[in-house]
């Protein structure tokens, strides 16, 4: 088994209008590593996450997840891979309003055909003890992001992709959430990529990369 959980080989991607957004991008992520990707708006950070998740395909180059080229997979196979090995955390949380917190957290288990028993424990773990039957409308932004983190980790994914997970939160809550993400990643022995504009968020990671027109470059905070 490869030590690299993720490998990007010479990735090129242009927008439909023709503007080139990723140019010959090369990157590797080791198992258990937590990396922050920073960069200006519109430079292609979210596009990069979509390519990694198999939700979009590069114009050329390869995205390897555990040594498997995700672009060679069919849509269903890529979805299966994503379902089992990926966890997602979004800036706007994206929890389903018509499901209870417990049901929201249990969604990946349900999709993977696993037992749902673990869901309540996961909610406890993110600090939402006894709130399983509440609905999202009863929660604050910080609490909603905790639900999203629980959902991202419940099925023990190998790779967490977080897109501005603290972008909608106040600094104190953001700090709490970042600590929670870090702790949960460690506890689950997962790898993670966090796309962010926040130096505070980037500071909690192992490595920080800056996405520019000419590729990914290490940066220090």
């Amino acid at each position: 088994m490869s030590l690299n959980i993720l490998e990007l080989r010479n990735i090129n991607k242009a927008y439909p209008q023709g503007r080139k957004v990723l140019d010959n991008l090369i990157f590797t992520l080791k198992a258990g590593e937590y990396v922050a990707i920073m960069g200006e708006s519109g430079v292609g950070k979210s596009t990069l996450l979509n390519l990694i998740a198999g939700l979009d395909t590069p114009d050329s180059g390869e995205v390897l997840i555990d040594g498997v080229a995700i672009s060679s997979l069919s849509d269903d196979a890529a979805t299966q891979l994503r379902r089992e090995r990926f966890g997602f955390i979004f800036q706007a949380f994206h929890v389903l309003p018509h499901l209870t917190l417990l049901q929201n957290v249990a969604l990946p288990l349900l999709l993977n055909g696993q037992s749902l028993q673990h869901a309540e424990q996961m909610l406890d773990q993110v600090g939402l003890q006894g709130r399983g039957q509440d609905f999202p409308r009863q929660l604050s932004g910080g609490e909603l992001q905790r639900v999203a983190i629980a959902r991202a980790l419940i099925h023990r994914p190998k790779l967490i992709l977080a897109d501005e997970p603290t972008g909608n939160l106040d600094p104190d809550t953001a700090q709490e959430i970042l600590q929670l993400i870090r702790a949960e990643i460690n506890a689950n022995n997962a790898s993670a990529i966090i796309v962010t504009h926040s130096h505070m968020a980037a500071a909690t990671t192992d490595r920080v990369m800056n996405l520019r027109k000419d590729g990914l470059h290490p940066m220090s905070l």
């Binding site: 708006s41 269903d76 089992e84 990926f86 018509h98 409308r137």
Partner: protein, 850 residues
């Protein structure tokens, strides 16, 4: 104002499809209503005008209560004090077998006039002979035809027109046209003396038209003349005649208009669902506008403007489309819309500006009605809450308070118990509208109760992500679900109601035909007005046929009971004295008792009346009534009520012997024949044809009459089916629009689900399951609601409109089929709308940083 325009244009530009579907639904609803109104109004006005033209400039008409009067009255009227001109008229409908017109009628109206009198009262009816042949107007072998009649009968000037009167042939020379006739009006004019002789109505008149001297008070004159003439005659004013023509088709026209409005009503659900979902989708956008300084009133106005613009455009398109449909229908199908109320006319469609305005306002009103609740909700929403996740389902909650729904349903039940208003089942229609509104408002609560009741059961079912998510959505977002369900419920319940009503009616008519057509063959003479074509000698010849096991003779006549209403049909026939149910479809239930003939006092004559006589004239079993039969009125006792689907304005039946004793008239119009066993029907028909008068007979098998009756039934319901289909299509449009709007509103949900590992196939399956579940619920509730509506249609609206009752029949096969079609259609619609849910755009929908 500029901001309003920007927002409106922006919304339409982004969701043009939804705006167009809504606009189209309103346009179709308005078009249906307007075109049906134009067609009915044109046919009615033309028919009314044609009827009026025949009476020319007369002030009053004198007619007998029966169809014909003795001409001896004419000289008395001509010299009656106050009369300037008295014009005797004999008006007869002559059957033209083999000359059926496109619109199904095959009778030529022949008017016998006194040329010199008619020239003063109805000059348009004068014939126009060839030059130098002025005397043709007075000849006994000539007839003048309107252009439409010439075209229909394929004759021209100087051709011979042959037809039968009773069992005799008549040939007349076509001497020319008329001074003026209405377009499409098939009429013929003869000299009155010639008409009386050649058409076998010697000494008979249909009416005498009176023109009064200047300064004579019409009301006083009329009272005085009525007293002078007694109860056997009626003095009719022109307005009575108009009312009579109006009453004849009123229930039919109103019912058709109501049905057309159903399409508009289902259109309002479409407006409601698309507006409601669009507001849910734009909840955050509106909250932002509120934050930026938009007042509640401005927001309300914004949403109302959107609805109003759709209403204005849709209604304008609808009015134009309605006019085009009406013109096309007149051109290709005539103006009768499948009914037989307006024979022998070809109306022109006039663009009625005021009616167009009314339909425009109705279309606009319906759109605003569909917009008002979502608009209020948008204005009422607190910006902070609206920006919060999960508040979407809280939106629209106020549309469905259970007390509102229950109050609507209770009111509907109360309305079913109220009587007719101005002769129309207004409360019946309101009850149906309230049933629909109440039921739709009740849906979210029913869904919640249903899920609460089944929660324990569902815990034990292991289901996958697709089933779980689909059910969770229905369970926890019932208001969203009910928006889509409203369209399904409205469409399906109307389909069910109409299917049950039409089937019940058809089955009842079918069974009724069994009862009223018991013989094997029915023989009539060529019909001429109320003439009894078979005299005693011909009756004896037919009775003597060894092939028949039983022969019954019928005498039918039209009798005037009320000058404002169409005539009542009088049947004189042998009725089983021991058990009249063997002869008539008698109703014997808690509302209608039956009096046995042997319990009647001596010298009391029995009469059996149709349900319409009970409704229209208040006849009750056991009541003694005076009937205008023969030259005067006679007392009868109502002994039973019978069901009659043939004559909605009333019919009465008496024993043939009683009729003959009263009138001295031994002629009959129809003979019913029962064949001996082992006798071939074809042979009997051939034998009848070989009689001296055989060629002039109309011989019909009961199976043929039955088939023709059912064909007429189906034809008259064709427009009903069409309107129902339109309403259902609009309902399905609504379902499609609401599914499509939900897809837009749920883009982020689908994006997230795709991220966490739901395949495209699973999302589509989830949408199909949601659509299927919703439709199944809609079908289940729709069936119950449709059944409820059909009860109102069958037991309230039909009897109140047409004065007949029917049994209820449920067309299970048909209902199951439409349920399956509905389920498949709605699920496919959900799937089609769901293509957007698996597109690449939904993956982008989760992005916040652009």
């Amino acid at each position: 104002m500029m901001l309003n325009r920007w927002l409106l244009v922006g919304e339409w530009r982004s969701h043009i499809g939804q705006a167009l579907v809504t606009l189209l639904a309103i346009a179709i609803g308005v078009a249906m209503g307007f075109s049906i109104h134009l067609l009915n109004s044109a046919a009615f006005n033309e028919f009314s005008a044609a009827s009026k033209d025949l009476s020319g400039q007369s002030d009053l008409l004198v007619r007998a209560k029966t169809a014909l009067m003795d001409e001896a009255l004419y000289p008395q009227l001509a010299v009656y004090d106050g009369v300037a001109v008295a014009n005797p008229v004999l008006e007869l409908d002559i059957a033209m077998p083999g000359k059926r017109q496109a619109r199904g009628d095959y009778k030529l109206k022949v008017i016998g006039i006194d040329m010199f009198r008619a020239a003063q009262i109805a000059p348009d009816l004068l014939g126009v002979p060839e030059e130098g042949k002025a005397m043709d107007r007075l000849a006994d072998d000539t007839i003048f035809l309107s252009p439409a009649a010439m075209s229909w009968l394929e004759v021209k000037q100087n051709d011979t027109l042959s037809f039968h009167v009773g069992i005799q042939s008549v040939s007349l020379r076509v001497a020319g046209g008329l001074v003026r006739a209405r377009s499409g009006q098939s009429i013929a004019v003869m000299d009155i003396g010639a008409a009386q002789w050649r058409l076998q109505h010697l000494g008979k008149l249909s009416r005498v038209e009176l023109k009064l001297k200047d300064g004579v008070n019409h009301a006083v004159f009329k009272d005085k003349l009525e007293q002078h003439l007694g109860t056997s005659y009626a003095v009719v004013e022109l307005e009575n005649q108009e009312a009579r023509v109006a009453n004849m088709s009123r229930a039919y026209r109103v019912n058709l208009n109501m049905l057309a409005l159903v399409a508009l009503f289902t259109g309002s659900f479409l407006v409601f669902s698309t507006q409601a979902l669009s507001i849910i989708r734009r909840r955050q956008q509106f909250a932002l506008l509120r934050v930026l300084g938009f007042t509640r009133r401005q927001l309300l106005w914004q949403v109302m403007i959107e609805g109003m613009m759709l209403g204005i455009l849709g209604s304008i398109v609808g009015v134009v489309l309605g006019y085009a449909i009406a013109v096309s229908v007149i051109e290709f199908f005539g103006g009768s819309l499948g009914s037989s109320f307006f024979p022998g006319i070809k109306p022109d469609i006039n663009f009625e500006i005021w009616t167009a305005l009314i339909y425009f306002v109705v279309g606009l009103g319906v759109t605003l009605l569909g917009s008002i609740v979502p608009a209020l909700e948008a204005a009422r929403a607190k910006p902070a809450l609206a920006l919060k996740l999960g508040s979407e389902d809280a939106a629209m909650k106020k549309t469905s308070f259970p007390w509102f729904a229950i109050m609507g349903l209770c009111l509907a039940v109360i309305f079913t118990q109220l009587p007719v208003l101005n002769g129309l089942p207004v409360f019946g229609y309101l009850a149906i509208a309230l049933l629909l509104i109440g039921s739709i408002a009740l849906i979210p609560h029913v869904i919640t109760w249903l899920f609460a009741a089944t929660v324990t059961f569902r815990r034990h079912i292991r289901m996958g992500a697709v089933g779980f998510l689909s059910l969770a959505r229905l369970e926890n977002a019932p208001n969203h679900a009910s928006i889509a369900l409203g369209g399904i419920l409205a469409s399906f319940s109307l389909m069910v109601a109409m299917a049950i009503m039409v089937t019940s009616f058809r089955e009842s008519v079918d069974q009724w035909l069994d009862r009223v057509l018991p013989a094997d063959l029915y023989v009539r003479t060529a019909a001429v007005g109320d003439l009894g074509g078979f005299h005693l000698d011909t009756q004896q010849i037919i009775s003597a046929f060894p092939a028949f096991s039983r022969v019954d003779f019928f005498r039918t006549q039209q009798v005037l009971f009320d000058v404002d209403r169409p005539e009542v049909t009088l049947f004189a026939r042998p009725i089983d004295r021991i058990d009249p149910r063997n002869t008539l479809p008698i109703i014997n239930d808690e509302t209608h008792a039956v009096i046995a003939l042997d319990s009647l006092p001596e010298n009391v004559l029995p009469v059996w009346v149709s349900e319409a006589m009970v409704d229209l004239y208040g006849y009750q079993v056991g009541e003694r009534v005076m009937l205008p039969i023969g030259a005067s009125t006679h007392e009868f006792m109502v002994v039973a009520v019978w069901r009659d689907y043939g004559r909605q304005f009333g019919a009465i039946q008496i024993q043939l012997d009683d009729y003959r004793t009263i009138t001295g008239d031994s002629t009959v119009n129809t003979v019913a024949l029962w064949l001996q066993a082992n006798v071939s029907m074809q042979q009997v028909i051939e034998q009848l044809r070989q009689l001296p008068f055989g060629k002039e007979l109309e011989i019909s098998r009961s199976s043929d009459l039955r088939a023709i009756s059912l064909e007429i039934f189906d034809r008259s319901f064709a427009v009903t089916y069409l309107l129902e289909l339109v309403a259902v299509i609009i309902g399905l449009f609504g379902v499609a629009a609401s599914f499509s709007a939900q897809m837009l509103a749920r883009a982020k949900e689908f994006g997230m689900l795709r991220h966490i590992g739901m395949t495209r196939h699973q999302i589509l399956l989830m949408l199909a399951t949601e659509g299927g579940l919703l439709t199944s619920l809609g079908i289940m509730f729709g069936f119950l609601l449709g059944w409820g509506i059909s009860l109102v249609l069958i037991f309230i609206i039909n009897p109140q409109s047409f004065h007949w009752t029917m049994q209820m029949y449920l067309p299970w096969g048909w209902l199951i089929m439409i349920a399956i079609v509905m389920l498949i259609t709605a699920t496919c619609t959900a799937l089609l709308a769901g293509r957007r849910a698996v597109s690449k755009q939904v993956i982008q929908a989760v992005r916040e940083d652009w």
